[in-house]
Symmetry: none
Subunit: 239 residues, 2 copies
Amino acid sequence: MKVLAVDDEPQILRILRASLAARGHEVSTAPNGETALDILAGADVDLVLLDLGLPGIGGVEVIRRLRSWSSVPVIVLSVRDAQADKVTALDVGADDYVTKPFAMDELLARMRAVLRRKGAPDDEPPVVRAADLEVDLPKRLVTKAGRPVHLTPTEFALLELLVRNPGKLLTHRWLLQKVWGDAYGEESHYLRVYVANLRKKLEEHPGSPSLILTEPGVGYRWMAAESDQEPGRAEQDGR
Amino acid sequence: MKVLAVDDEPQILRILRASLAARGHEVSTAPNGETALDILAGADVDLVLLDLGLPGIGGVEVIRRLRSWSSVPVIVLSVRDAQADKVTALDVGADDYVTKPFAMDELLARMRAVLRRKGAPDDEPPVVRAADLEVDLPKRLVTKAGRPVHLTPTEFALLELLVRNPGKLLTHRWLLQKVWGDAYGEESHYLRVYVANLRKKLEEHPGSPSLILTEPGVGYRWMAAESDQEPGRAEQDGR
DNA sequence: CGTGAGCGTCAAGATGTCGTCAAGCTCGGA
DNA sequence: TCCGAGCTTGACGACATCTTGACGCTCACG
């Protein structure tokens, strides 16, 4: 397990290096964002521990650039965890966060959790069904009650993100950056228009949506509400 | 079960040692903060009982330093009218408190409650279950009896803090600062409103809550009420 | 027995966000 | 050049959430 620890405080790096090496991990360190990105570009790294308050390019920017070519797990180490900081880091692609000062065993638990999540390759079914709707991702084909529904490229991109993350709350920023690009994190007006388009084409009653739910102030959520005719499935009871 | 008891009164230590050893615990003791930290750095300890009125570095400082590298449960022993110290200790990371003089079985009950969360240790389960309730942190999805429950952003932030710290007594100030930001440490009125909202949406009987417990004058506590198969336990009567 | 502090509850106003419609714009193909 | 599909942008009413205040209750204390 190769871990890259990024922090501008040498003491933190020392502690991390010692604790992780004692558990058999191979640890490399970087004192700032530039060095971190260099290392990530060159060497294999299985997990990144990243301080947010870095000199030079900040931790958020590091994640943003890193995510353009790599999906290596990133755990953020932040001093404060007021809502805003936390959400920003997760928005740009961090996998989890730990507040400093942190307990070593908590960090280790988060590391295991993040790696497990990444490791499990979710076999996403290529075709998603909900009520009388059918979304065939590979064919880029959507049918409602057997009839094909025409979607524009942008509409389909947005729908694809939603159905690939059923039940999960997707933030405005995340959706915008995935569909329109990293520079469009703030244009939440686009979302409103395109969500409205999708609902008009897909929902039974666009006025009171049951597929694309809005979570005010945060984002949207795809609810595969197919539990009506299948009462036996008590979903993934991972016990 | 290895317990470290820290107190400057030898008599208290004697009583603790005797009572805990009789229950099969392995007890070590320390008369002051420095010794306590030395022991904690060297040996495995499963739980700490810590007096606040210590000579040298005080109990609060011990917790603060300890929390920078360990999350071992800490139960504070405080004298009756040291309300302020008690709250400060919880703010910096203590798990619970017992006021001196205390009944031994109350202390033991608190120990069990605090340890219950360590009982299923390691990876924090990304999805928390309690009775017919299910909280999926990554998805930001809460379901009760299979039905999704809608929470506002603030409600969810508060719930997340609670379920991530089961059994732990969380102070008003700590919760306020985490959810609303550092400047909101005093606005405990917000907490009352939002705790009421959560109880109304999640509790079976919002009038007599069993998930979110009130600790008058101090804070709130999430009871990991997974004791379904143990109906005999009616403890939380701490009056 | 009276009093006050802390808690739970309700409701109403303020604030910001969302849904909707429609018009202007861009760009590729006929 | 013209046309049309799709994308952007603006305006406005509707709505959800947050905030704030008032009130009744319980409990500890004098």
